[in-house]
């Protein structure tokens, strides 16, 4: 079940597409929609958290060292964080490129 994101056949759909298991949206990794990913230059990061405030996905959190980073399972690559970053610490890089 863990890797099964949706019912296989029409007969398996709950009436009215009702969902009875709360919180299962986290199992759907919207990060797969991403065309570009944020790449961080921590030497420029001042840990202000402006990216965290603007992220429409709410997928940014602080790591153990206090840097703000996106969870790539959910980051859709919109680039708002890179646009808002005061110091230009975030670059959007096309997926598949290093």
């Amino acid at each position: 079940m863990a890797d099964k994101k949706w019912p296989e056949t029409w007969q398996e759909i709950n009436p009215g597409c009702m969902v009875f298991r709360p919180g299962n949206a986290r199992e759907y990794h919207t990060g797969s929609w991403r065309a570009k990913r944020p790449v961080y230059d921590f030497s420029k990061c001042i840990k202000c958290g402006i990216c965290y405030i603007f992220c429409p996905e709410g997928c940014i959190s602080q790591d153990a060292d206090g840097y703000f980073v996106a969870d790539l399972d959910y980051c859709k690559g919109c680039g708002i964080c890179a646009h808002e970053c005061w110091t230009g610490a975030i670059t959007m890089v096309e997926e598949g490129k290093p």
């Binding site: 759909i13 009436p15 009702m18 969902v19």
Partner: protein, 392 residues
């Protein structure tokens, strides 16, 4: 005990809904259905029914409120007409997709424009493809009966779909007719308490109205289609139960004097009884004609139709709406499609009649039967015609 009561049919519809112990009514007035919610608000205000009457600011809100109320497990009723039904439009397919058994009476009225408050079927035809069960009543008694049947059908665990009962504006809504009313005990015996499949409640988590991505949407549409197709079994079963308890028979297509008829007329709604009188007159004149009264519009009873037309040479289908620029009227197109694969299908003529409140008379049906008889000899050029239109 059953009582015979003379009453305006719109009021009777409200009384029938009240007998079903509805919990919530959300409605907005629009001619000609207005007397239905108006009378229900009286019934609630007089304390005869313990229900919430939500005065909303529009039909869009009316059906949205019904959707929410049904989602928490309430038995819900509403009514509308014409532009009101169109204004509900955005919510109509959502209620059926969420499988919520909302019951709605539609006092059928022409769609604008030009603005017109009188009867035809353009309002229901406009929303026919949205996943609701759709019934047509010929008279007040059928309105009362169908409303009571409706909750049992819509709420059945093998159905769980919204349902509309169509009663022609003015021709039915505003007519005073004697009707048999079952008492509360009889209705309670027929209609069990509503036990929802799921209801929104903090203790039992459920998400309704979810997103359907391309990976699942096709399957969701197939499931919705099958729900409506499979509802026919339950409708037939509940109509049988109704007949056993109340003695009045309901069928998807009712046949009137069709035995051995070369010509068949097919009508819906208040035209049915005028057409019956026309058939009696035709029989007096030794013309072999019969009548099919279509009661169940969705799910469409294709199988019953194929059986009903067996042996007939010409079928004249009445439509009370125009499908502008279409191949036929909406009912005509449906019937042609259902019969196309039959090797011995009758020739079909399609008459669009009774638009925006124009009277449909006994004489009209006699003329249409004569047109059908002529069509048997010489097939008409056009797939449909707007009957009685001035200007050749």
């Amino acid at each position: 005990m059953t009582k015979r009561v003379g009453m305006e049919i719109a009021f009777a519809a409200a009384e029938a809904a009240a007998l079903c112990r509805i919990d919530v009514i959300a409605a907005y007035p629009i001619t000609p259905n207005t007397h239905i919610p108006e009378h229900l608000s009286d019934i609630v205000a007089d304390g005869r029914l313990d229900a919430e009457f939500i005065c909303v600011e529009s039909e869009h809100s009316a059906l949205s409120a019904c959707c929410g109320a049904s989602g928490v497990g309430a038995r819900v009723f509403t009514a509308t007409s014409s532009q009101g039904l169109m204004f509900m439009g955005e919510v109509i397919p959502i209620v059926s997709a969420m499988r919520l058994p909302v019951v709605m009476a539609i006092g059928n009225r022409a769609l604008s424009g030009p603005i017109n408050i009188w009867n035809d079927h353009s309002d229901i035809m406009w929303q026919r493809d949205e996943g609701w069960i759709s019934l047509f009543a010929s008279n007040g008694q059928e309105v009362v009966d169908m409303i009571i049947q409706s909750f049992k059908i819509a709420e059945h665990r093998d159905v769980m779909l919204p349902l509309n009962i169509n009663l022609d504006g003015f021709q039915l809504t505003h007519v005073v007719e004697p009707m048999l009313f079952p008492d509360q005990g009889e209705v309670d015996r027929f209609l069990p308490e509503y036990k929802p499949y799921a209801a929104l409640h903090p203790d039992h988590v459920v998400s309704m109205g979810t997103l359907g991505l391309p990976e699942i949407f096709t399957e969701a549409m197939k499931a919705k289609d099958m729900a409506l197709i499979n509802s026919k079994k339950v409708i037939l079963k509940i109509w049988k139960e109704w007949e056993e308890q109340f003695g009045r028979k309901y069928e998807p297509i009712e046949a009137y004097k069709t035995e051995g008829s070369r010509i068949l007329l097919l009508t819906m709604g208040s035209m049915d009884e005028t057409a019956e009188a026309a058939i009696d007159e035709l029989h007096k004149r030794k013309i072999s004609a019969g009548l099919l009264k279509l009661k169940l519009w969705r799910p469409f009873p294709s199988e019953e139709l194929r059986k009903a037309v067996k042996g007939a040479k010409v079928l004249a289908v009445m439509d009370r709406a125009v499908s502008f620029g279409g191949a036929s009227g909406p009912v005509g197109a449906e019937i042609r499609s259902a019969l196309y694969d039959e090797p011995d299908r009758p020739l079909i003529i399609n008459e669009i009649i009774g638009l925006g409140g124009r009277d449909v008379t006994l004489e009209d049906f006699i003329q249409i039967a004569e047109k059908a008889a002529m069509a048997e000899k010489k097939k008409p050029k056009e797939a449909y015609e707007i009957y009685g239109v001035r200007g050749s």
